[in-house]
Amino acid sequence: MPKIEVSRQDLFSQACIDDPGDEKLADILSLVKGEIDSSEGDCLKLELNDTNRPDLWCVEGVARAIRCWNAGAQRHLEELPEPDMEIFVDSGLEKVRPYVAAFAACGWAPGQKELDALIDVQEKLAASFGKNRKTAGAGFYRLDDIEFPVRYRAASPETSFIPLGFEKEMTLSEILEETETGRTYAHLLEGKDLWPLLEDIGGNVLSFPPVLNSQTTGRVSAGDSRLFCEVTGTEWETVQLSATILACNLQDRGAEIFPIRINYPEPYPVKTVVTPILFSDLMTASMESIREVLGAPISPESVQKALQRMDYASVEFDRIGITGIMPPYRRDGIHAVDMIEDIVISLGLSSFEPLLPEQFTLGKCAPIEDLADAARILLAGAGCEEILRPVLTSRAKIKDATRTPNNPVSIANPMTAEYGVVRNTLLPGLLEVESTSAHAAYPHRIFETGEVLTVGEDGNCRTEILLACLVCGNKADFGDAHSIIGSLCHSRAIGLSLADADDDRFIPGRCAVITIDGRDSGVIGELHPAVLDNWGISRPASAFEIALSALKG
């Protein structure tokens, strides 16, 4: 979940409300699916839960939602002037970093704090939404230092300019090798022969996206009231949406937005695009479908008002239903239900009276769980203590320490070897209990019923429920485990028989395959001293493990 840090004072002044206090604010934040993470003095940390709403990952976005809910829609980025600035994209970037969006913002001069906040939003967008600048990354410049048109071209690694924060010219490859930012993002350009470069008609380099701006044109200071903003990246939609969000933020701050025409070469599917783009996603829902989801009568006028408070650019209704146009900074509306949720949020969940489903349904236990319950109760009655162990464990515990014949399924990307496999047997878990419980009063009779993962010959894996039981104490022997499985089978009127078996886990001659009603169902034996030794267990032990389903009878 994205977390952001905002200034209280900034948030409430932009939201046009008085500071409501944290408790009230928590309620208000439900508008943006947000929560207060921490609140200290002027500094508020917010957690935003909607991963599809990058527009909300900044103070401007949260403030905008509150402001519009109180004052109605604000029609962002409508009626922009005709573009009189242009960017030309050269061929050669299609496979490198194909897309660019840009605009100018004039008339708002950020102070140092506001400028820091602006840079912060740009970084946050590039980091989370833009996948660490891969799919999209943005940059700000002083507009007046740039001579239009600007070229977005594929440049040789030997091209050089003075990068931001440095004094001497460096080649692009030197930047990747010698600067910290360069090393951080070098992997984005790995394997490419030519790298992206923005430069103006006068040959001045603006930046080497997505790595570093130039020291001469790419530096913005507090008080600069004429800004140029560009976003480049590998995903069309991410690039466009990032630019649109930044433009809306600057417009909210008081800047006038001037669009820029982007000219693409062959073989791009589009020739020219004016950015920032207004996606203006249009959604239609019938009043009936809205009422069906809401479970409440609601008038078209109320729906219209609710959506206007969510900053919908336009909301109309006719006989067919409601047609809404989402605000330009959002692209998360992919189905009418998304608009319906906005209606719900706008009206507030507390305005809906909870109702119980009226239709009758039967409550039923899963049959295998019924069986597990029966076995567990019998075992507890036999004086056994139930154990619960994790499903993830290590190969060393299953194979090396316990000498289990079958191999467990491995995890391809384990976090640690300690949890590197999925268990295929419960016995190692019980042995681990013994190895850590020498100080607990004996004798120990312990058991677990639990899921394991096994693999069939066709490579398909199966989740199975096993039942394992272990007795450990000074006098524990084969008979202890045998009498427990014996009484279990007796209680369930199941025929039990044993057939000698060889199994490294157990002492030869004291190990058997358990046959229940004629089917091989598990194994029983006295644990081999070598196994006990591996686990550091200093008392004899016997155990059995069966497929739970065998107890069905």
Binding site: L349, C365, L388, A412, Y419, V433
Partner: protein, 523 residues
């Protein structure tokens, strides 16, 4: 009025001895009476004293001194630090630093010897250094050596009463009750008590001798009917019972059992699933785009090559792929990317219980229907006091023609009240990729305040339609580990699955108390 308790056999033995021998010390009784051991004697004596059948005729306390660990070290050195220091000064040493050059004792012991000699006035310090106020031979420390160390050279103890007063003062000062391992002396108190039978005791003994009382009832007593003419000895009933380790179900499993029972009582059918899933069922069928961050290699465990889960039917898979790519027949526009079949079939460990719901929806469920399942899920986290390698989630769906948002809220209200036992809760808009609208419930816990009580929503049409469901479906899910910790009173999540039997035996079992600790009214 309660009847006077009969004499316990041990009590009777003690009274018999005192009746015969008159006033006797504890030691005599322990050595000569029929009482089996010292413990039995002490218990019988306590009981009888409290019932005034026996009285304390006299009580003497005598103190004995023996050498403590430091004393023994001094003995081995052949001198105490104080005496050694006095001799050093007599021999011309003028400062503590000079004396500390002698390594018979460490600097600390020299330091404390210096302190006590200053305190007793045996040493005087002035501008020219330190001096003796009298000869070493005349000091109390020489007396201590002669009267205590010498006689105890071969071990044993000395009666304190026979020692001169100034020596006793030194001993008392250096025999702390605590920190005996650093003590120079140990003082032991020996109590000599003399007991005698009282008038009341003689009466009780006579009464006991005249009647037959039965202690343990034996099959013989039952068979021969001798109990008909006998008295039953009255037992003392409020003594602590001896402990037994019962077989018992695991506290967390009992908690899960309670959750299961409550859902079944509300008309839910239990679902079961698989630990391993392909991404299709875990994510794709739930309309989570293949580029969703929660599907990243750092969030999900992938199983090693060659391990498979059977693929979904081809037609179903195509419907789901289409919905991802362009919305299919759902009326939406989809995520707008190219769906990868290869990714869809990758085998992973189930990361969310919702996979169970997806499979249930695809297998012709009852309509109307209510389903729940408790599923072990896996997420890529470092194991610590708040994260386990796998965790339990309860998950479920409710389907029906008339289902809507208000039913969703009603169901959550029911969970809060009936499953969690909460008296206060609130609903907040939430976000889940597979539901719209989405709701999060927060529950008020009396100690912790607001805690998460689960997420829910109406499944998106992009989830339901490809799976063949054309009625609204409520879906909800809740992690149970944290709720169990609250109910079980544990603070480290790893204790839920502890391999330590002692710890496990110490975890309370109160499955009828769920999240808020409210007791089941029917319990």
């Amino acid at each position: 009025m309660t009847e006077e308790r009969d004499l316990h056999p041990l009590e009777e033995k003690l009274l018999v001895y005192l009746e015969e021998h008159g006033e006797s010390s504890d030691k005599e009784i322990i050595e000569r009476s029929d009482l089996p051991d010292e413990g039995s004697f002490r218990r019988a004596a306590e009981w009888l004293l409290s019932r005034e059948l026996v009285r304390e005729a006299s009580r003497d306390e005598e103190e004995f001194v023996e050498l403590g660990p430091l004393g023994i070290a001094n003995l081995e050195a052949g001198v105490t630090p104080e005496l050694a220091m006095l001799r050093e000064v007599a021999g011309g040493a003028g400062s503590l630093q000079d004396i500390q050059k002698n390594t018979v004792f460490d600097r600390g012991r020299w330091g404390s010897a210096f302190g006590s000699l200053m305190k007793t006035g045996h040493l005087i310090k002035d501008a020219s250094g330190i001096h003796l106020s009298c000869g070493p031979q005349e000091t109390v420390f020489q007396k201590v050596w002669d009267l205590v160390y010498e006689p105890l050279a071969d071990g044993g103890e000395l009666k304190m009463a026979r020692l001169p007063e100034d020596v006793v003062l030194i001993i008392n000062d250096r025999s702390p009750k605590r920190g005996k391992s650093r003590a120079e002396f140990t003082v032991n108190v020996v109590v000599t008590r003399v007991l005698d039978i009282t008038e009341k005791g003689s009466v009780a003994l006579r009464a006991a001798k005249e009647s037959v009382t039965i202690g343990a009832i034996t099959p013989e007593i039952l068979a021969d009917g001798s109990w008909r003419h006998a008295k039953f000895r009255r037992y003392q009933l409020d003594i602590p019972p001896s402990q037994i380790h019962t077989g018992r179900l695991h506290p967390y499993r009992q908690f899960l059992d309670t959750v299961r029972k409550r859902f079944m009582a509300l008309g839910f059918t239990e679902m079961r699933g698989s630990l391993a899933e392909n991404e299709f069922w875990n994510n794709d069928a739930l309309f989570m785009p293949q580029f969703h961050p929660a599907r990243d290699i750092h969030d999900v465990y992938f199983l090693s090559d060659g391990i498979k889960v059977p693929p979904p039917e081809r037609e179903l898979e195509e419907r789901v792929a289409e919905v991802h790519e362009n919305g299919g027949n759902t009326g939406g526009r989809g995520w707008g990317y190219s769906f990868s079949r290869e990714q869809s079939l990758q085998t992973i460990l189930r990361s969310q219980g919702t996979a169970l719901s997806a499979r249930t929806l695809a297998s012709n469920p009852d309509i109307p229907g209510k389903y729940f399942g408790i599923a072990r899920c896996f997420r890529y986290d470092q194991v610590d006091s708040t994260h386990l390698p796998d965790f339990f989630q309860v998950e479920g769906i409710v389907l029906g023609e008339q289902i809507n948002l208000r039913h969703l809220l009603g169901l959550l209200k029911l969970f809060a009240e009936e499953i969690a036992g909460a008296s206060d809760y609130k609903f907040l808009p939430g976000y889940f990729p597979f539901t719209e609208p989405s709701v999060e419930m927060h529950i008020f816990h009396p100690v912790l305040g607001w805690v998460e009580g689960g997420g829910a929503g109406l499944f998106r049409p992009e989830v339901c339609l490809p799976l063949g469901i054309d009625v609204p479906v409520i879906a909800w899910g809740l992690g149970l580990d944290r709720m169990a910790m609250l109910a079980m009173g544990i603070e480290d999540i790893r204790d839920l699955i502890t391999p330590d039997l002692t710890k496990l035996r110490g975890i309370r079992v109160q499955p009828d108390r769920l999240l808020t600790g409210k007791e089941d009214e029917n319990a």
